[in-house]
Symmetry: C2
Subunit: 458 residues, 2 copies
């Protein structure tokens, strides 16, 4: 029996009928070439054989005398948590994404431990998929990444226990082997996440200060009016539209090298182009630039373990027609943020979890009178390992985050960069933001545009 | 724009995270023998081609100035309402029932018209299934039956529009053709259902009076203490377990003929045996008999259209070991109810909808001090047509109701008797009532027991 932290409790109370607060991963997998016909069925049986999970996966919520606790579930039932599904033929990716949209819209039952994994067979090209969700009160996005990576290996013959069955000791070792340095830093920070809630006022003060400075020194970076009103910032329905696609990491890297930007700058420029195009289609592009809230690892020095998580407000330059001007605006905005962060102490740039996942709360704190927004959407980039990954003998073809949208923040773009791919997951309120799958094409256009810019520069 | 009635609004307000208030049907279908490989895909396409539904299927909920209205959805999107799914191989019925359990636990999104139909391929034996749900504020269980039957035909070559696209004029005609007399009466009554909420206090008074009389005259029928506390009457989780099976209508009829009971008496005796066995397994059978709330058509005279809906409190005799004594207890209890209903005016025995679907409300009204229950569970029997039915060219092999459970009423048994089958649908809170699928076996045992009794009597 363990009392919930204030932050975890917040994720329980902030949850609403139209606003479930779980995070998820959609993984796309290719079974081994010699997989028998009943491969998926055996896989499901194997997963279900891990029927005695370790904390927190065996704990459910219980309230008593006005407080909430995590309590071990004495009747843990693996069939409630590991579900076997199939796509109708021909199993198109768009059908898979529709299925994920529906599953992500559905609440976890609080009478049970707050996680569930779906194994989905019948994806075109002989592939399978998994969709795994966990309530945000149990694990945040970064812990979610760790959970997912924890059960993967670089060796196709290495069959590891699923996340809910990895003993704590083994967890740390495997993680150290698998993750590249930035994520090790992230993983370490995630353990501090639980205490981050208290630092939200600090973060809010920093953000206010940042906005004030930006207005004085760099009027183009983050406008003193903060984020403009936009259709991204309306109330949401209970339905979701999920879109996911992989893009070439080497292409983004190569363009960045020529243009003097990081992979993250390229990702933000792709998002900027995509948002500009998407909102223009709907005749809803604000005159002022959109502001993205971007959680980011900011390296203080050259040590492998010296990374920190910051939360940047990035001017996406969506008001600028010229792609080079737009990129320069983004790079300058990121640079401005980084310089601030370097001056800040580690403790001051925490509060990451709360700011990332409860943007409404952050908006409230940065602007107590309401009305104005600190940012229009969250763009979250979690770097992963560069080596090939396998899960239960299957090649991992894609590992797409499925994040959270909330009232006033109807779009979230999350991505992992791993192996040679950037795996984008775009989640939106289906009703507020029509045809959000178009963003995928526009992200691709954005990458083309960056390559064209790079070609002109050489 | 149409304001919600008090009753409909009640179904909106009574809905909770763990207590969605939609009703559904699971239909099991055999496609035509010459169905091509893409039969289901074409079927889904055909259903989606009916993309401009008629009221109430094109209306969504809107609140304004404290009142709630049904408003035409200007952006109606058929893809939100017609979903194509597939079962993983081998497509066992138990997998289908698990899938229905999960789907029934999931809320409809109030930003859209409150209905959804799933077409599920890959059921073993080359079959398919549909699961169609509609919010109780839009249609009650009886209207749900009408909606389902409305799109069916006795002719396999007769392809009718789906329920949401049948014009009002055609609706009435088709109904008259298809439905047997009792259901025609039911259908007529259902139109009064909307106004039934006001008569709930009358019904409550009648029930109180009925309980008082029963105590004086027939102490064994409905105990003055009303329904005993039982595990059926606990709070519920948000998860469901659904179990469904068909039983032979001719067998039940034949046993009833010998034993002097109606099909409905036989159904109640089957339920009584099943509940007795199920609760005994869990060491949770109350010493006093369970009381079922049974909505029922009670014929006043011999006219085809003179049927009325009553709500009976039936003593299920679950405390009695001897099957004949148990049956006699049920038959006497039903007879007692019928005699009361004959003395009552039509208006007095309305309020059916509210009593059936909001048992907590009824319990509150019959016993304002709380604590005591008027009944332990609802057993609902809707008779259907005796002829074979086809839907979109597919033979209808089963038409199983999926009803509602609420806090304090964790089990519901609903059934349709049609063609030569009795199609039982048992829905329960998954957490409160473990292994409720066992009820199916025990229902079968109950029928065996009745046949054995009949054999002894001849």
């Amino acid at each position: 029996m363990k009392r919930l932290t204030a932050l975890d409790l917040g994720f329980i109370y902030l949850e609403k009928r139209n606003q479930p607060l779980h995070v998820a991963y959609l993984n796309l997998l290719t079974p081994p070439a010699d997989a028998p016909d009943d491969f998926v069925q055996k896989l499901v049986e194997r997963l279900r054989s891990y029927a005695a999970p370790l904390p927190p996966f065996n704990q459910r919520l219980e309230s008593s005398l006005g407080a909430a606790y995590w309590v071990e579930d004495p009747e843990f039932d693996i069939e409630q948590h590991v579900i076997h599904l199939s796509l109708p033929r021909p199993g198109r990716i768009r059908d898979l994404l529709s299925m994920v949209s529906r599953m992500h819209a559905s609440h976890l039952d609080r009478a049970y431990p707050l996680w569930r994994t779906y194994i989905i067979e019948g994806v075109e090209g002989g592939r399978i998929a998994t969709y795994s969700k966990v309530h945000h009160a149990v694990a945040d996005g970064i812990a979610g990444t760790r959970l997912t990576l924890r059960s993967m290996s670089g060796d196709p013959h290495d069959i590891l226990p699923p996340p809910w069955a990895v003993p704590p000791q083994g967890r740390r070792e495997r993680q150290a082997n698998l993750l590249t340095a930035p994520v090790t830093g992230v993983a370490r920070l995630a353990s501090r996440f639980r205490h981050a809630f208290d630092s939200v006022p600090t973060v809010a003060r920093e953000l206010r200060q940042s906005m004030r400075e930006a207005k004085q020194k760099h009027p183009d970076f983050v406008s003193g009016n903060a984020a403009p009103p936009s259709i991204l910032n309306r109330g949401i329905s209970a339905s979701r539209r999920y879109a996911a696609q992989s893009y070439s990491l080497p292409r983004a890297k190569a363009a960045g090298k020529v243009l003097g930007g990081t992979v993250n700058d390229m990702v933000l420029a792709m998002c900027s182009h995509a948002l500009r195009r998407y909102l223009s289609d709907l005749n809803a592009l604000p005159d002022k630039p959109l502001i993205a809230g971007v959680p980011m690892s900011t390296r203080r020095d050259r040590s492998e373990t010296g990374n920190q998580i910051g939360f940047m407000l990035v001017n996406l330059g969506t008001h600028l027609d010229d792609p080079l001007e737009r990129l320069n605006c983004i790079v300058a905005s990121v640079e401005h943020n980084k310089q601030r962060f370097i001056k800040m102490k580690a403790g001051e740039i925490l509060g990451y979890g709360a700011t990332l996942m409860a943007p409404g709360l952050l908006n409230m704190l940065t602007n107590p009178k309401g009305g104005r927004l600190a940012f229009n959407l969250v763009i979250s980039h979690v770097p992963g390992p560069r080596s090939n990954l396998y899960w239960m003998g299957c090649r991992v073809d894609g590992m797409y985050p499925v994040s959270v949208v909330v009232d006033g923040m109807a779009l979230n773009i999350s991505l992992t960069s791993l192996e040679d791919r950037i795996d984008f997951g775009v989640i939106a309120c289906r009703r507020t933001l029509p045809h959000v799958q178009r963003v995928l094409d526009y992200l691709g256009e954005g990458l083309d545009e960056l390559e064209a810019l790079a070609a002109r520069s050489t």
